[in-house]
Symmetry: D2
Amino acid sequence: MTFSAAVLGASGYAGGEIVRLLDEHPNFVVEYLGAHSREGEALGDVHPQLSGGLRQFGSNDVEDLPDVDIVFLGLPHGSSTDVGIALAESGARVVDLGSDFRMDSAARYQAAYGSGHPRPDVLADWVYGLPELFRDDIAGARLVASPGCYPTSALLATVPLCSAGVIRQDAITINALSGVSGAGRALREDLLFGSVDEGVRAYGVTKHRHRPEIEMGIEEATGSRALVTFTPHLVPMQRGILSTVTAPVVDGTTLGDIRSALADKYDSEPFVEVIDLPPQTRWVVGSNRALISPYLDERTGMAVVLSAIDNLIKGAAGQAVQAANLMFGIDETAGLPVAGWMP
Amino acid sequence: MTFSAAVLGASGYAGGEIVRLLDEHPNFVVEYLGAHSREGEALGDVHPQLSGGLRQFGSNDVEDLPDVDIVFLGLPHGSSTDVGIALAESGARVVDLGSDFRMDSAARYQAAYGSGHPRPDVLADWVYGLPELFRDDIAGARLVASPGCYPTSALLATVPLCSAGVIRQDAITINALSGVSGAGRALREDLLFGSVDEGVRAYGVTKHRHRPEIEMGIEEATGSRALVTFTPHLVPMQRGILSTVTAPVVDGTTLGDIRSALADKYDSEPFVEVIDLPPQTRWVVGSNRALISPYLDERTGMAVVLSAIDNLIKGAAGQAVQAANLMFGIDETAGLPVAGWMP
Amino acid sequence: MTFSAAVLGASGYAGGEIVRLLDEHPNFVVEYLGAHSREGEALGDVHPQLSGGLRQFGSNDVEDLPDVDIVFLGLPHGSSTDVGIALAESGARVVDLGSDFRMDSAARYQAAYGSGHPRPDVLADWVYGLPELFRDDIAGARLVASPGCYPTSALLATVPLCSAGVIRQDAITINALSGVSGAGRALREDLLFGSVDEGVRAYGVTKHRHRPEIEMGIEEATGSRALVTFTPHLVPMQRGILSTVTAPVVDGTTLGDIRSALADKYDSEPFVEVIDLPPQTRWVVGSNRALISPYLDERTGMAVVLSAIDNLIKGAAGQAVQAANLMFGIDETAGLPVAGWMP
Amino acid sequence: MTFSAAVLGASGYAGGEIVRLLDEHPNFVVEYLGAHSREGEALGDVHPQLSGGLRQFGSNDVEDLPDVDIVFLGLPHGSSTDVGIALAESGARVVDLGSDFRMDSAARYQAAYGSGHPRPDVLADWVYGLPELFRDDIAGARLVASPGCYPTSALLATVPLCSAGVIRQDAITINALSGVSGAGRALREDLLFGSVDEGVRAYGVTKHRHRPEIEMGIEEATGSRALVTFTPHLVPMQRGILSTVTAPVVDGTTLGDIRSALADKYDSEPFVEVIDLPPQTRWVVGSNRALISPYLDERTGMAVVLSAIDNLIKGAAGQAVQAANLMFGIDETAGLPVAGWMP
C-alpha cells in the first residue's frame, strides 16, 4: 500500500530529513516539495546530500499543492497556522512539525510564545504526536502536532516516573544539551562555525519556549501540575540531544522502583530502550531510537535520569513519520532506522 | 533470494558498517560475527549504535565459522592472508577489505608494505574490487580484494583521464584529506581527541602504503606506467575523503575534453556523479556515492580534479557490499544508500 | 624579583600550561622539568607548542630536584602524597595541582576516592588554593592544594549565594559541561577522537570524585552542611567548563538579592566578572577569567547560576600560578592572561 | 619607549587579534578602535574574550582618528584604498592587513581581483610586509601592506627553494588547508556551523585571488617568472593554515640540498623553524611561529614541503605587529608569542 505525501518547508534541516526518510519508506511517495525562499530551486542545490536532486521546489502555498494523502509541515514558528487550518478543512491528513498546534490551550500558547494564538478554537482538533505516550490518540487522528525535540527527550524520561509517582513533578530540573541543527538553518551570527566551535553556552535560561510544552506533556499524562526548571545548552556538534533530568524522589523510592517504572513503560517499545550506563548521543544519532538511563543519588534523594535522542529524527522527522505510520495503520516502525551512525 | 554472510573483524569501524549495511540489505543475512580482542562480547557493547545488540562475537578463526555463502574480512593488515587462503580453499566467496590480496604482484606488495608477501602465488586468485573500473572481473569472481579508501577516491578521479590520454600519468600529484575513522579504532596517542581536534597534519609523506595501490590501479587500467606523488592529510572530522588531483594536461586538452572523459565513463554509473562545483565530503557522507569535479588551470596547464567519498562506505563497507551484489548477480545497488546525512 | 621553579608531571596538559605561563611570567624562572614516562625526552617532543623545546625532562623524583623556590606538582591522583610530604619536610614551597592534599579530613578523602588517605595526619598542613575564597590563607601558606577544575567553577558560583543565605545549600543541583582536556592526556578508548567528536555524554553520575570537594568548599566557607547532586558531562571541545547550578532560593529572595550577593563578593576581583547574559566558555578560554551569570525562575523558585572558566587555566595551571603569586607576595595577576582566544 | 596606535576594522577576527597583541605589547598603547557596523558598541560586546571591554568603537573614518604613531587597518577588500592614501598623506605610519596595497602593479591587481586598481600610482609607496623575506624594506618603510595568510604560508616554504634554484618555480602545486577564521566573520550560509563542521571542501579552484600574490612574492624574490597551481581548502577548525607544496626538483637535487636551502635562510630567524617531521597546525596556533618541513620523493622527482602557521597571527595580526616592531626599530619579537596553545 502506498500513500502520496507532500512536504512543505522542505528546505530546512528537518524538512530534508523527512524527504530522506520518505524516499526510503516502503509506503510513502513524495509527490511535492514546498519551500519559501528556495522556491524554484532544485532539491540537489538545497540538500546536496539527498538523491533525486533534480526535483524542484514549489511554493509553500496550499493552493499549489497537488491532492495528496498526507502533508508534512516543516515551517517556521507561526507559519503553520493558516496552512494547517486550510489543510484541515480540505480533509487532508497533516503532521505539523512546527509549534503552532502543539499547545492544548490558548493560555499555554501565550505562556510559551508570548502572544495570543490567532485561532485558539482549532487547538483541540490536533493531537500531540508523541507515540510512546499518546499512541491511541495518534492512530485515530487526522491532524497531528509533532512534539519539539527538547520535549520529546524530556517527556520520555519524566512521564513514566511522574505517572508512577516516584519523583516529585513540582520540582523537576532539566538541563539539556543540543547539537546545533536544533536551531535550524537560519543565518545568524551566533550559529557561525566561528561562534559555535570549541565552546558551550546556555541560552533561553528560565524562559525557553519548550518549557511550557514539557510541563503540558507531564500534566496531560498525569493530571497533576508540573513545575520544570529548564536550561538548554548549545554544544559544538551537529545532531543529538541529551537531557539530564534531576528531581527529588518521593520518600522511600529506590533505584529499583525507578527502573521498574521505566521498564514497565518501555519494554515493548520498538524505539525506546532503558539501559544502565550513561547514554551517548552518538549511539542514537542517525536512528529513531531513544536511550534512557536512570540513577538515584541516595545521599541527596535525587533521581538523575539521562535521555538521548537524535533531535532531527526522533526529535523531528522520524517522529513525524512514526506518527504518520500510525495514522495510516501501517507498521509503526516502517521506514524508520534503528541503527545509527558511528563514528 | 537471501544469502548468508559472516563478518570477521566486525569490531572495527569498517566491520561495524558492514554489519549495519547487511542488516538493512534485502538479500543478505548476517549469521556470524567474528572479533579478536572483543570475542565473547555483545555487539551492542562494541557498536552501541547498531541494532540487534545482543548478538555475540565469536572468534576470527576459520574453524569457528558456520557454513555461509560469503565472508567479509575486516581484519588488520597482514591478518587476512591465512584466513583468506583457508576460505578460498573451502570454496567460500570472500570479500577482503584488508590489504593482503590487493596487489597484483609480490614486487608491488613489497614496495607498499616493506616486506615480502608470504604467499605471492595466490595473489592472482583475487580480483581488485572497484566496480566502476573492474565490474566484469568482480561479477565473475569468487575472491575479491576490496580497494583502500584513498585508492578508491583517487582512481575514480584519475583513471578515466589517463585512459582518455588527457593528463600525463607520469606526473600526478594527489593531496588527500581524510577523516579520522580512516585510521581505524586503534588506541594511539595521535588519535586522541586532544591530539586531533582543531588541527591538520600531513603524514606518510612520500611513503604512504596506498600510493603503490593507486599506481597499480592506473597501470592496470591503462597498461602504462604511472607516477604519483601522494600526500595524505588527517582532518578533524569522523568520515570522508577528499582527494585533490593535480596533473599536467596533454597539450591541447580543454576542460571540455576532461569533462567528456569523465562523463563518458560515469554517466550510467549509479554511484558516481560528475558535478561542476567543488564537492564537499558532507554531501556524500552516509552514502555510497562518489562526487567528482574537474577544473583546468589554463595558465599553468594543470588539471585539478576533486573527488569526494565516505571513506567507510564507498571507501570500505559499501564498496564491499557493492562487489558482493555483483558476485551474486543481484542488483548492484541493493542495500546501498544513495542519500547521505547532512547536517 | 625572580624565583626559581620546578614542575613535576610537566608532560601532561596542565603541566604544559604551567610551563607556558611560567615561561612568560616576570617573576618565575623554570629551572627543572620532571616527567615519568617521558623522562629523558625533550620538551619540544612532548609539548611541540611550547618554546625552548630543547629543554629535557628529568625524573619526578624529589632527589633529582635542584634547590628551587617553588615546586608545582602536576602528578596523577595518588602520586603527590610522598613527593608532597618530602618537599614539605625539605622546607620548599609547593603547589599541588593533584587531589592528594585537597581534602580537609580523612573521611572526606575516603568519600571522594573510595580508599583511606595514606597520611591523614598531614592534611591540615595544606591550604585549599582558591584565591577568591581563601586568599589570606594562601598568602600565608607554604603548602597549597590547588582546587579541581569542576570545584573551581562550582564554588565560585555557589559560595557567595550560600554565604548570603539566598539559596538552599542542601538542595543544590550542578550540571557541568567539560572539554576533553579535563580528562588529561591518558590513552583511553573513550577519549579517542572517534569516541568523542560529535557526541555528548554524562559520566560519573551520582559518584564523581569532585562532588565531595565541592561540598567541602561550601561547608568550609559557610560552616553549614551542603548537599550537591553533581552530574558532569563530556563535550566535544578541547577546553572550558560551564557549570549550570540550579538551587531553590530561600523564600522572598529576588534576582536582585542574588546579583548583589555575587557583586559584593566579586566586584573587586581581578579574575571574576559577574555578567548578565549566559557566559560562553569561548569567552574565557585562554585566560584566567571566570564569568558568572545568575538567573531566577520565579515560577519554580529556582536560582540558575552559570559559571564559565578555562579548565586548564583558572581550573588548573593559572590558578596554581595565582596562588604562587600570593605565596611570594607579588602582584596576584602577574603573568596571568585576562584576554582569551576567540575564535 | 611607547607608541600610540589606532586599529580600524577592529571588530573582525584579525582586528580583535591586533588589539589583543597590542594590549599585551610593551611598546604600543591602543588609543583608538574603529569599526563600521559595530560603531558605538563596546569592545566587550564584539570581542567578549578581550579585556578592557568597556572601550568603545569609533568609526573607521580618518577624520575621527586621533593623532597616533601608527594605524593598523583590518578593513574588507577594497575599503583600505581611500583610508590608506589619506593616512599616507597625513604622514602617519600604516600597516594595512587588507589587500589594497599588496600588489606591485596594476596588472597584478587586475589579475587577482578582476578589476582595475583605483589608484595604481600609489602602489609603489607600499612595502610588502613579510619580514623574513623583505626585512630591510620594512624597517625603512612608513607604509606596509601586510601579506595574506595563504601567501605567508606558501612564500615561507617556496622562496628559499626557488632562490637556491633547487625546485622548478614554473611548476609549483600548492594545496592549502585553512581554518574557518580565514574567511572572516561574515554572515554567510556556507560558514554556518551546520555547513562547515564534519566536512572539507576545496574552493576558489584555479582562480583564488591569493595565487597572484604568491607568484608575485616568488618573482620579486627571484627575478624570474613563477607559475603556481593553487587549491585552497576549508577545514573544520577555527585557526591554522597548512600549505603542502609539491614541485619538481631541478635535476640532481638531493633532500640535503633542500634542507640546506631552508636552513640557510631560516637558521637565525626567531619565528621560523625547519623541522624534520610533518608540522601540525596545532603546534603553531596561538603563536607567531611558522614550521616548515621538506621531503623529497625520489621516485617522482618531486619535492614536498609542508608549512604551518596560525592564519590570524603569523598570517595576519602577528605579522602586522612584527612589521610595526621593525618600523619603529624596537625588538622584532616584542609582544609576539612564540609558545602556542595545545590542546
